[in-house]
């Protein structure tokens, strides 16, 4: 998948995550009065929310690679990490909301039009901070965690504001929270798509074959390349690629490629052992050719 398609796809996944999280949140909210405490309620609602967000974003990598097993493991891992992240995010977001709300409700005359939206937005931003981290933790990429945090905070803040102002503009509407959650999901997706390329150590683009145009971001210190699913860069449908063929390592912002075991790696048509990648180096692994670039 090309960079543009990847961005659009991630935005779409974000919107779908928001769409799916809405009914999950609404149904839980209906039973608020039945919960024994705000603590239990916050943890429960946060868990439900995180599970949905984690599942949708967790499926992203697998869908991009058109690999069903990756989708399933991504969804399961995303749900598990999402449950923890959502619970923590909602709990801390609620604590921050209580703090800011209680302060502003007694100190601001325009509380309903300014204080409440700002309090809500801050609470959502904290929730977003944690929700945005989920997919980065799942893929063990601290850069993606950072990117997710940016998306989560901005999406959360704007989502919270959108919810309140939509409710003020259209009193009685039942879709205010849906709008907020769509903005929330969209921003996380947008940030994954737009910022992760800039924060990555570089991009490997497949130049030929069935998956020509697919981009692999180098956003972690170590990436395995090979035919098996366990690899971070799985080259499916190419010839002469071993299960674990090559390894990308990042050392002090320099990116190196080296073969694993009996794997043969060519860079600019020359076989290499450990090679410092330079801009527009052409890597050949089996029948697959990849171009190294950074932005």
């Amino acid at each position: 998948m090309s960079s543009i398609k990847r961005r659009i796809f991630l935005c779409l996944v974000g919107l779908l995550a928001g769409l799916a999280a809405w009914p999950a949140a609404e149904i839980t909210l209906l039973f608020q009065a039945g919960f024994p405490s705000y603590l239990v309620f916050s943890v429960f609602l946060g868990t439900i929310f995180g599970v949905v967000i984690g599942a949708f974003f967790g499926s992203g990598d697998g869908i991009i690679m058109s690999h069903r097993r990756s989708i399933i493991t991504g969804v399961v891992k995303g749900m598990a990490i999402g449950a923890v992240g959502g619970a923590a995010g909602f709990f801390i977001g609620q604590a921050v909301l209580f703090l800011t709300g209680e302060y502003l409700i007694h100190s601001m005359r325009r509380f309903n039009t300014v204080g409440m939206p700002v309090s809500r937005a801050i609470g959502w931003a904290v929730l977003g901070l944690f929700a945005g981290m989920i997919d980065g933790v799942r893929s063990r990429s601290w850069r993606k965690v950072r990117v997710g945090i940016i998306g989560g905070i901005s999406g959360g803040f704007l989502g919270g504001l959108a919810l309140e102002y939509f409710r003020i503009a259209f009193p009685g509407t039942v879709f205010a929270r849906l709008l907020g959650l769509l903005v929330f999901g969209l921003f996380i997706g947008l940030c994954y798509g737009f910022v992760e390329v800039r924060l990555s150590y570089g991009v490997l683009t497949l130049l030929n074959g069935r998956f020509k145009g697919r981009e692999f971001l180098i956003n972690q210190k170590k990436l395995g390349i090979g035919a098996l699913q366990k690899n971070d860069i799985m080259l499916e449908g190419y010839h002469d690629i071993s299960d674990s063929h090559a390894l990308i390592r990042v050392k002090k912002d320099d990116v190196f490629i080296s073969p694993v075991e009996k794997g043969r790696v060519l860079v600019n048509d020359d076989p290499v052992e450990e090679h410092l990648l330079k801009y527009e180096d052409v890597i050949k692994i089996g029948s697959a050719k990849l171009l190294y670039q950074y932005k």
Binding site: Q32, E102, L104, H106, M116, R120, L163, G209, E280
Partner: protein
């Protein structure tokens, strides 16, 4: 939102009416609500003071005399079955925030007998300043903070609450005499404005107002709209309601002559907010103002209860005290909204539709194979670099494909930096061997190696004058 405001007003009025009923008897006041442990322990702390008919705190009240209620709308209250913790307070350590509100109308520059005088020391304003200095000197807790404001036709703030008493004394000396249309006395509006300024201050709050006359609204007496308040004329109930909402008690020092000119409602404001009125003529009373306020706080009751889970953006807490003359009540609210806000009014099965729709769309997305299908061989510029790539992609469906600077080339690439020949390189297709070969006199690279001729493999990268061109034979296996 209008309904919300209406509810707040009606709740406040109810509280007001109930407290008015006992205005001359005992009154109860919620001086502070602390919901900081709501999320962690589900409890809310309410600081309550009860004052007798003379404004003095009522001591040694038992837990059984109090009932706690909560409401999500300010109207329908639910009784909390049990008060958790109950104790009398002695939490004076955190200090009190005072706002000194001094009357700066024209009449304050007369003497105590309402006569014109040139002797500044005989003016009521000088007496008021002396009263404030006495008050400042009587303050014993270094954590107390004092702010300063004045009022006449207009409200003017001089300082937010600060710990340094000398600052306030300095500012006091710099309050200017009223000129022009500043001589009116907007007591209620100014009190309301003072509450506004005091909202953001946390902790216990008290306003000390020094006044020599009755409320004389600018609009009513000047006949033209007020600069800040327009045509609005404040009633005394407004600052009372606002003070009750914010837990601010008002203590008044009266400079009126023998009560003749004193404001009829200043005492109501003081008593209904849990404060008291002092007479400026009685020097011994002035010395007692501070100890009176502190005494009231030392006799507060701390009630802790488990909050309800009813969804609401703010919850109203009502404390009912079973006074001898009948129950008296006080209402305040705290913030209780959750991150996602209030639930929908009703559950519809249609709510499940978006969840199903989103899952369905995701499943459909997962079915899409983002794969390239077998097609024609192509060359495609993926990074033009410093050049201008006139042709972005070109199908190699001819025997020969020319890459060059001329418009006649199949792939035209122009550069102002590097010299690109008109026929820089040619890709030739050998139909028998099904091989593509690049050759040319121009300077070009394949996979970052300078070559003159080379058989191309799918995925090879050709660099011409800085432009990155990818060759693809169109095969997928």
């Amino acid at each position: 939102m209008k309904t919300g405001k209406l509810l707040i007003v009606s709740a406040a009025l109810m509280a007001l009416l109930s407290s008015r009923a006992g205005a001359r008897a005992e009154s109860v006041r919620i001086s502070q609500i602390d919901p900081s442990m709501l999320l962690f322990r589900q409890d809310v702390k309410v600081y309550v003071s009860v004052t007798g008919r003379d404004g003095a705190p009522v001591k040694n009240i038992g837990k059984e005399k109090f009932s706690v209620f909560e409401s999500a709308d300010g109207t329908n209250f639910t009784r909390i079955p049990e008060i958790g913790d109950f104790r009398t307070m002695a939490n004076y350590e955190e200090g009190i925030n005072f706002l000194l509100l001094i009357d700066n109308s024209g009449s304050m520059y007369l003497d105590m007998k309402q006569r014109l005088t040139r002797d500044r020391s005989a003016m009521k304003f000088s007496h008021a300043k002396a009263a404030i200095v006495t008050f400042l000197k009587s303050m014993t807790n270094p954590k107390d903070r004092v702010g300063l404001a004045s009022y006449n036709s207009y409200y003017q703030s001089f300082s937010d609450p600060v710990a340094d008493r000398a600052t306030i004394e300095g500012l006091l000396a710099r309050i200017p005499e009223p000129v022009g249309d500043e001589g009116h006395t907007e007591i209620y509006a100014s009190l309301s404005r003072a509450v506004d300024e005091f909202r953001s201050v946390k902790g216990r709050k008290a306003i000390l107002i020094l006044s020599d006359g009755e409320n004389r609204p600018y609009y009513r007496y000047a006949g033209k709209p007020h600069r800040d308040f327009g045509t609005k004329i404040y009633s005394f109930e407004e600052p009372v309601r606002e003070c009750q909402e914010e837990g601010i008690s008002v203590f008044a020092i009266n400079f009126g002559r023998g009560g003749g000119r004193r404001d009829v409602h200043l005492k109501d404001i003081a008593l209904q907010t849990g404060g008291a009125v002092f007479d400026a003529g009685d020097g011994s009373e002035l010395v007692r103002v501070y100890s009176r306020i502190v005494g009231q706080i030392l006799n507060e009751y701390l009630i802790t209860y488990d909050a309800t889970m009813e969804p609401a953006d703010k919850k109203y807490v009502k404390i009912r005290y079973a006074a001898g003359s009948g129950p008296v009540e006080a209402v305040r609210f705290y913030f209780s909204s959750t991150v996602f806000g209030l639930p929908l009014k009703e559950f519809g099965i249609w709510l499940l539709a978006p969840l199903i729709l989103a899952a369905l769309l995701l499943w459909l997305l997962s079915l899409i194979r983002f794969e390239k299908k077998k097609g024609d061989a192509t060359i495609e510029v993926i990074n033009p670099g410093s050049t201008r790539a006139v042709t972005r992609a070109f199908k190699l469906n001819k025997g020969q494909t020319i890459i060059g600077a001329s418009k006649g080339a199949d792939m035209t690439i122009m550069s102002g930096v590097t010299r690109i020949r008109e026929k820089h390189a040619t890709i030739t297709f050998d139909g028998r061997k099904k091989k593509y070969t690049i050759a040319g006199d121009g300077d070009f690279k394949v996979n970052n190696k300078r070559v003159k001729t080379r058989v191309l493999e799918s995925g090879d990268v050709i660099n011409v004058g800085g432009a990155t061109i990818v060759f693809d034979d169109g095969e997928v296996d």
